[in-house]
Amino acid sequence: MQVTRDTVKEIADYAMLTLNEQELEHMVRDMQEIVSFVEKLNEVPTDGVEPMIHPVKLMIVMHDDTVQRTEDLDAVLGQAPDRSGSYFQVPQVLGES
């Protein structure tokens, strides 16, 4: 697969990153190397092999339905850069939720 400038721009856009010209060039090369490396796997015959979702056979552990309260709301809110009352505050977001 060919990684182009457009591919990188699109991915940067999803991640909400702005790249300058130099960073963009660098990323194209970097990502091309990674993709080419991983593409090696395409050579492995996988006919009849079931897709693996998780590498280790683990049993899922579930929790029961009993409430655990967070003791200190201020400590929770204090982790964020900004708050307003007991809301987290972030820069204004435009558009519909």
Binding site: D65, F88, P91
Partner: protein, 483 residues
């Protein structure tokens, strides 16, 4: 889309598919033990897991899985033996992880169906899938910035996706009502639309009648009531038909419904298609739903609305319509059943419940659970009327008080002295008095004017303040007039 714009004279049909999100009634969130209580102080119900602090790991709520399986079974779905959670990536402050844990290609339930009935016509609506996912937080947009409340973030939801089988706003509404009924019967959700525990998006398109391909669809969001869904779909379909008739084409976009103005409005269209980049969540391993667990859950599903409706028709002789009204809400169906078991004619109880009781409650905007009246009291009221102790009219006048105070009907009628006068010796002097005071009507009756009799009966009823048994009055009056 030239095939739909060739002629302006075509008739169009509406095609609708619904995506419904339902909040499950668990006490804790889907991946942590924070409370799911509605209306608490912002962010009071959050913890490092639902706030996505680095290094935390999600732990699946077993009860939420059980509820989702129960809902899927009640909707006739097959339950996947192996399933998993996937990350749906998007950036928005209501989602601190920057991905929502959802189920992409292995939903918990698939291939279900719901039976609906509109204007006497039955129809099966296919359900494509039922899957589990977490809710996002709530944002408040203010001038100073956007405020984030993550109490709802991580609350378990099921998403129920119908096939595009619905053909009108009315059908969509019937589908939602049936869906709500089934879910409330199973107890997996409170299904309160006003608290956002049931939310609905509609995919709407139109096509000329006879066309088998689908037209371009729009998605309508922001509908808060069942009647809003119905109106939004009707409006949107009419708008699309108009666009096509004008020779234009429908743009694939998301629209929002303005309930007050009854219009749908295009939301800011995304210049580029969203890419959610789904992939299996590595923090939650795939899991197996054992057949034994599914069987156990299946055995806990109560009698569902359709079965109950059929039983009410067979067992109590109710009409399809009446049985339908009485079984749409489990609480109402239970009330009816308890009343019938306490005695009295099932049909009469159904009439009193549907006409008088619901009429009164609807006026007060109350549910059957919000009145202190007990089912046995309704049964007693019907029996008192059947036995001729009070008239139907007195029954109607007593009912509001029963609904307000929760008192037994007999207590009220005894206190107010409303017991019907059947006693001949009590009625005869009143009849004699009425005959004496109304010579003209008496003469009219004797001259063959039957209507005069009705007037005289009315006078006796008035004298007795409605307490006389009208049939008895009729008999005695006739007897007196003939003598």
């Amino acid at each position: 889309m030239s095939h739909v714009t060739e002629s302006a004279e075509k008739t169009y049909e509406t095609v609708v598919g619904l995506e419904v999100h339902v909040e499950l009634a668990t006490k804790t969130k889907l991946f942590c033990r924070c409370s799911t209580t509605f209306g608490d102080e912002p962010n009071a119900n959050t913890c490092p897991i639902c706030l996505a602090h680095p290094g935390t790991l999600p732990q699946l709520n077993e009860e939420a899985v059980a509820y989702a399986i129960k809902a899927a079974l009640a909707l006739g779905c097959e339950i996947s033996e192996r399933t998993k959670f996937d990350r749906k990536s998007y950036f928005y402050p209501d989602l601190p992880k920057a991905y929502q844990l959802s189920q992409y290609d292995q939903p918990l339930g698939q291939n279900g169906k719901i039976e609906i009935e509109v204007d006497g016509v039955k129809k099966t609506v296919r359900i494509e899938r039922v899957h589990l996912e977490e809710d996002a937080g709530k944002l408040l947009h203010t001038v100073g910035g956007t405020l984030v409340d993550l109490n709802r973030g991580g609350v378990p939801l099921i998403e129920i996706v119908s096939a595009p089988d619905l053909r009108s706003g009315k059908e969509a509404r019937a589908y939602l009502e049936k869906l709500k009924a089934i879910l409330s019967y199973t107890g997996v959700s409170d299904v309160r639309m006003e608290e956002g525990s049931l939310r609905c998006d509609a995919n709407v398109s139109v096509r000329p009648v006879g066309e088998t391909r689908f037209g371009t669809k729009t998605e309508i969001k922001n509908m808060n009531t069942f009647s809003g869904v119905e109106k939004a779909i009707e409006y949107e379909a009419a708008r699309q038909v108009e666009v096509l008739k004008q020779g234009g084409w429908v743009r694939q976009e998301t629209r929002r419904f303005d309930d007050a103005r009854r219009v749908t409005i295009a939301m800011r269209s995304k210049e580029r298609a969203q890419d959610y980049r789904y992939f299996p969540d590595p923090d939650l391993v795939p899991f197996t739903v054992s057949r034994a667990w599914v069987e156990e859950i299946k055995s806990s599903i109560p009698e569902l609305p359709d079965e109950r409706r059929a039983r009410y028709m067979a067992q109590y002789g109710l009409s399809a319509y009446d049985a339908g009204v009485l079984t749409l809400e489990r609480t109402l169906a239970d009330f009816y059943e308890s009343a019938v078991q306490a005695g009295g004619d099932p049909k009469a109880i159904a009439n009193w419940l549907m006409v008088e009781v619901l009429g009164h409650l609807n006026k007060e905007n109350k549910a059957i659970t919000e009145t202190p009246m007990r089912p046995e009291h309704l049964s007693e009221l019907v029996k008192l009327i059947e036995e001729g102790v009070i008239s139907g009219k007195i029954g109607k006048s007593v009912l509001p008080e029963m609904l307000e105070s929760g008192e037994a009907p007999r207590t009220i009628i005894e206190r107010k002295g409303l017991i019907q006068i059947q006693d001949t010796s009590a009625l005869e002097p009143i009849i004699a008095k009425v005959i004496e005071n109304n010579p003209q009507s008496v003469a009219d009756y004797r001259a063959g004017k039957d209507r005069a009799l009705g007037f005289l009966v009315g006078q006796v009823m008035k004298e007795t303040k409605g307490k006389a048994n009208p049939q008895r009055v009729n008999e005695l009056l006739l007897k007196a007039l003939r003598s």
